[in-house]
Symmetry: C4
Subunit: 233 residues, 4 copies
């Protein structure tokens, strides 16, 4: 019973220490993973990083098994969101050890699910979750309206620019990339209208679009302040 | 009378199924339209897409006629916003069949009004509509203020940059394109000031402009939360 | 007394008609001014635009004199904000007629003050003015904080990037242009950090800066909703 | 005791005059520092700027010593935030005089801490400070969520784009630069996805990311209006 308190609870000192050390290890393994992607890494560093990887996977495996042991309903844990992520965070390592094919390496991307484990330990995520529930309907509505707007603006700019720039605006799908970069105001500058018609259309789209695409952020902010008020009435 | 419930209502199971299938068909025909714009499409795909187009137009035509039949005031439906859109969504197909001229193809853009039909079926649009009514005055005011600001900044940058960049800032209209790209913070990077005066002017314009152009999004967000409060007092 | 009602008031039908026609004429003269800046304009168009200019200036002069005549305190009107703008909107025309030097043409920029006359007739501007008064202190504070942030980030990036890009980041003033383009998220793409240190610094600046530079828009939005509540308590 | 009122207080006319003149001197010395970085500065200007520098440092030194003298708890002032900044603002000058090495010149960056002294004199900063305390938890939470999002999007784009653009997306760290420029919507345009997969991923990241990265500004705005309400209940 004491083991269960340490692993699942955050009330005891041992429980907090366990959670904190797991979190530190997650960040460490992510840093190691990122460093591993650097080009022209010396051989010695590669070997060291592989050791970090092996050790952290072993610890995560022990942690996963411990969680499975102390869980009351084992199947329910194994099929829960964090149960699956915990497994996905360690499974690719064993798979690549067993089969050792280059193509399997792509599965290592799944190792990144580990970072989502950070969310489990943070109590503060709950309020954010409640705020999302409060503003859910509006967020879905604005998701739909934004999608329609993105599509319509992509079709519009396609008809305006396809003749002047047949490469950049080759199809509606190519134009969608312009829509995304423009309506989010990122504006990389790799595609932009050059015709007078296309520029006037961009003007009209931005007038309407900015009021639609940037509203959700305001909705989340107001929902968060409401969620805080519900806590301290 | 039962037919009317299926087509216009969403209370019965048959009514919801009808609405949902029409919505799916709209999305499908839009995807087909987008794929059709892809360059270097094989002949077989073109034939398949034309079939999708024909079938969906036939179904939309039947739907339009059914709506016309069950409508109490037939003329009022035909001249209503969605009545016109429903007609515009199917008319270009018949026109291009009948006349078969390349220039008429431009009218196919009107087929895109179909996507606006998505709005009809969505109950959630109403709240957004009410929020727009609440913030209408402020939105109009900020539209006017933003327009004045856009114009004045275009004229200003024209006088600062026309000598250094006679191509990009050839006239006030060319400068307006810079104003739009800058004040919406899109910043494509195709036109930007290079003179010291132009850069200081840009700085001053952005200081004032960001507070004006990005306010409407906040207005819509606060109006939406007010509209929600009116629902659940 | 009747003339005073027509010119200064908006209660009578004649007063509204007078205001509206002046507004239309302001927009027309601004369009004419913009068209005039187009390169390669045919001679006939230039002559026509000069006629539009002359006629509108004559009407604006008559309007200015009428306002001066009906004003109770003539000196107070002549030195008021809109009195000065009204004068500045017509004065450059007579100056360029009298002296006819190319250098005086620069004063024609002042003709643009005409657009500010639009503000006089709009009743809706008052609420915006009140909202600015409500949020004045915060806006000034954020103006100061943003200025400090802009300066500090310009100095920082100057030390990080001056060796790698001696052209783009030649001095603190050159770096300020980067600060403005970055912290307003315009991001033209003409100057950007290339060193690892400069990029990490940009990351840190953006983390702090976005929360500072984009706050004023939210302040104005909330002040506007407060100003509306004060109207309808 | 009168000296203490002049230096630390802002109630008397002499106290306000002292504070204001120090602020003006800070801005002047910052302008001088910025002008000094201009390339191709004539010799005479350099000599003049060195004089401005010397004089202002002498005055700041006198000010620092006076503050130290009038402070009740001298050690507490010397180790306080502004005590350290006051010292850092003048120390590099004496260090560079004493040792006169080129490498020590880098410490001159510390002279910029002087600008933070501006904050001391502004009463309005307090409300901003209180607003930050109100929204502290949410700001920390969004900092963490934004960091996770930045990291995950960097890893994602790395796997999508590393083959197509091995230079720009050489490692996860290189991709992080893209993440920062994209999620803050700066979008310089030096790195952007070119593959279809990378563009779809960018679309997905922006949909989620804009709602996360731009929320803190709204949080600060609402916290500021709360802080104002607490002042005038």
């Amino acid at each position: 019973m004491n083991l269960k308190q340490v692993i699942e609870g955050t009330d005891t000192r041992a429980g907090r220490a366990f959670d904190l050390s797991i979190q530190v290890l997650i960040v460490l393994s992510l840093v190691a993973f990122s460093v591993e992607t650097l080009p022209d890494l010396p051989k010695s560093a590669q070997i060291f990083l592989r050791w970090v990887e092996t050790v952290s996977v072993v610890i995560f495996t022990v942690e996963y098994l411990l969680r499975l042991i102390v869980a009351k309903r084992k199947l329910r844990f194994a099929t829960s969101f964090f149960g699956v992520i915990d497994l996905l965070a360690i499974l690719p390592f064993y798979l690549s050890l067993g089969i050792d094919l280059r193509s399997v390496r792509a599965f290592r991307l799944l190792r990144l699910f580990r970072i989502l484990k950070l969310a489990r330990y943070s109590q503060a995520v709950r309020r954010f979750h409640r705020a999302l529930l409060i503003a859910r309907e509006e967020l879905v509505l604005f998701g739909v309206v934004s999608s329609i707007l993105l599509y319509l603006s992509a079709v519009g700019i396609y008809f305006f620019e396809r003749e002047a720039q047949p490469e950049a605006f080759a199809s509606v799908f190519h134009s969608l990339w312009w829509s995304v970069a423009t309506l989010t105001t990122v504006g990389y500058g790799d595609v932009y209208p050059v015709t007078t018609g296309g520029r006037c259309f961009t003007f009209a789209v931005l007038l309407v679009g900015l009021g639609v695409v940037s509203v959700p952020a305001g909705l989340v902010a107001s929902a968060l302040s409401k969620a805080r008020e519900q806590e301290n009435p």
